[in-house]
Amino acid sequence: MKNDHIDDLLLEGDEASMRAAGEHAAGCAECAATLAAWNEISGTARSLRATWQSDMLWPRIERALREERRGRSRPQFWQIAAAIALTISLGAGVWRVVHVRSEEAAFDRAILRRSALDQAEQAEKAHLQAINELEKLAEPKLEEPESPLMGSYKEKLALLDDAIADCETNIARNRQNAHLRRQLLAMYSEKQKTLQDVLREDSNVGKQ
């Protein structure tokens, strides 16, 4: 407790506090030792202080600091400029890459590349094969339709055949056009589904 008290007085450090600390140390050996140590440190610190008599010293220091600061700011400006230029260049490069990629994607959506064309043609062949098989099976039912529904299927198939023929004629002149290929695949798929529907219709059709 006593140490705490003298520590507080020493930290205050003003004249009254130091006087009170002295009075307190007179009745406390431990506190007296603390006060003695404090006074010793203070004396050593005072002995370390130095003064300069020249009035020109501080302006010289300030000038030197300004020059140093100016010298340091010049390279910073160029660094910023270089960074901006680099960023713009990089941005332009990235934009160019993205633009080219985007245009390539747009091109691919419009005109099929060789690999995509091969895949499309394989899919068309598979559809055609399935359609040929289904047509053989459905032919007897469609030759002379026994119901309005069969008549309707026949009509739909004729419509699909016309549209497929139109699409194929145009594909012959525009082979890799992606829209034509997609359209042809969609119509093959529709025809295949219609033929499956024809075969699925059983004797119920006869009642209609």
Partner: protein, 481 residues
């Protein structure tokens, strides 16, 4: 070289390589043309590629065509021509004629066009998608094999297509769509006229009238503020929340109708018809298809065959004609008339009278406030709690009548052959009884003041004899409880 500089160099190199690689096998060029719209129509003709038209304020017409080809020399020969005349601005696409192409020569021309919102528009496209938005003037779009999309359009819009979908959203005026083998969807329009084949049609939120003629594709109609006409075949029709008259003609496809504020007329065949919540009259003419109707505020007329009819909660009279099908009628506020063959008839809670003509089918009527007239054969007749006069003519089928009103009696006439007649009278009955049969017995638990009686005939009076009770049988018993 710093790290950043090295990264920049790499990026530039990648871009250059990508461009080079792209340029090696693809020709892409953009053609731009600008005009000031001075009147007439803006007409655009394309064959292979997409067309996107966006309306803008002012009178500028900005045309941007992107030509893509697998062959640079061929691509360079594709010309986009735009001319201005008194009739308007015409944009055409000229592709060199290619008759024999066994290689990989391919091309497409996509258009992005900005036009004044007030400029009438005409587009012809064949193999590509077409999209128009913001147009306030009339528009005509003729496409063949590709989708057509219209958004936020003002004046009358006409769309023709063959093999592709048609979608119209937010049209302030009339929309006319002619399609084949492609779906059609119209949402939020003033009036709609759609014809299609082999494709589904969806029409929603129409302010005034809507008309759809389809075949082999489903039709769905919802929230229409005026009259609706739908023709279809071989696919289902759904109509919901129609605030005008509704006419449906569908063959070989189901019909499902809900919430109509006006009269509804349906023709159908070979499929089920289901109707609920109609505030006007309902008329259904069907063949070989069942009919279910409920919550109908007006009169109901239903004709069908070879399938059942079920009507419930009918506010007006109901007339049902069926062949070879059963009929069920519940909670009918008006008179009920049923004419059927080979099917059971069951009716409950009929506020008016009930008239049932059947053959080879049973008849069960419960809770009829008015009179009941029944003709049938080869099946039983059950009448319970009939408030008015009762007349039943049956052949080869029993007749059971129970709980006639105790308060006031009405005439009862029951005739059959080769089956029994049973009548359960209310407490304190008052009838003039005339009963006769052959090859049967007449028995009764009710005290009758007989005027003549034998094994096969009985005449007399029950109570004060206010009403007629005529029971005629042949080869069957007669019982009076």
């Amino acid at each position: 070289m710093s790290g950043s500089s090295r990264r920049l160099a790499v990026a530039v190199a990648i871009a250059a390589l990508a461009t080079a690689a792209h340029a090696a096998d693809a020709f892409v060029t953009t053609v731009k043309k600008n005009f000031t719209f001075r009147g007439g129509t803006i007409a655009l003709d394309n064959r292979f590629g997409d067309v996107v038209v966006t309306a803008q304020s002012g009178s500028d017409v900005d045309i941007r065509a992107t030509i893509r080809s697998s062959d640079a020399s061929f691509g360079q020969r594709i010309k986009v021509t735009a001319t201005e005349a008194s009739s308007g601005i015409a944009v055409t696409t000229d592709v060199p004629d290619v008759h024999f192409n066994t290689g990989s020569l391919s091309y497409s021309i996509d258009y992005e066009v900005r036009i004044p919102a007030s400029a009438p528009l005409s587009i012809r496209n064949r193999f590509g998608n077409t999209e128009v938005s913001g147009l306030r003037a009339a528009g005509t779009i003729v496409n063949a094999q590709g989708s057509v999309t219209l958004r936020d359009v003002g004046a009358r819009q006409m769309v023709e297509n063959s093999f592709g979908s048609v979608t119209v959203t937010n049209a302030l005026n009339e929309v006319v769509v002619r399609n084949q083998n492609g779906s059609v969807r119209v949402e939020h329009a003033a009036t709609v006229d759609v014809s299609d084949r082999f494709g589904s049609v969806v029409v929603r939120n129409i302010a005034r009238s809507a008309s759809v003629a389809n075949s082999n594709g489903s039709v769905e109609m919802e929230d229409v503020g005026g009259p609706v006409t739908i023709t279809n075949s071989f696919a289902g029709v759904k109509a919901t929340n129609i605030r005008g008259t509704l006419q449906i003609d569908n063959r070989n496809g189901t019909v499902d109708v809900r919430e109509v504020t006006n009269s509804t007329s349906i023709k159908s065949s070979f499929a089920r018809v289901s109707v609920s919540s109609v505030k006007g009259h309902l008329s259904v003419t069907s063949q070989n298809g069942g009919v279910v109707a409920s919550d109908i505020r007006g009169a109901v007329t239903i004709t069908t065959s070879f399938a059942g009819v079920d009507v419930r909660d009918i506010n007006g009279p109901a007339a049902i004609t069926n062949e070879n099908g059963k009929v069920t009628a519940m909670d009918v506020q008006g008179n009920l008339n049923v004419d059927t063959r080979f099917g059971a008839v069951r009716a409950e809670n009929i506020r008016g009278s009930a008239s049932v003509v059947n053959a080879n089918g049973s008849v069960a009527l419960t809770g009829v406030q008015g009179a009941a007239l029944v003709r049938t054969s080869f099946a039983a007749v059950f009448l319970k709690s009939v408030g008015g006069a009762i007349e039943v003519q049956n052949q080869n089928g029993s007749i059971t009548v129970s709980d006639p009103p105790a308060s006031a009696c009405h005439d009862i006439s029951l005739k059959t052959t080769f089956a029994s007649i049973r009548v359960a009278l209310p407490p304190s009955p008052s009838y003039r009884v005339s009963a006769r049969t052959s090859f049967g017995r007449i028995s009764t638990d009710v005290p009758i003041a007989t005027s003549s009686a034998s094994d096969e005939s009985l005449s007399g009076t029950i109570g004060s004899g206010t009403c007629k009770l005529e029971l005629v049988n042949a080869n069957g018993n007669i019982t009076i409880d």
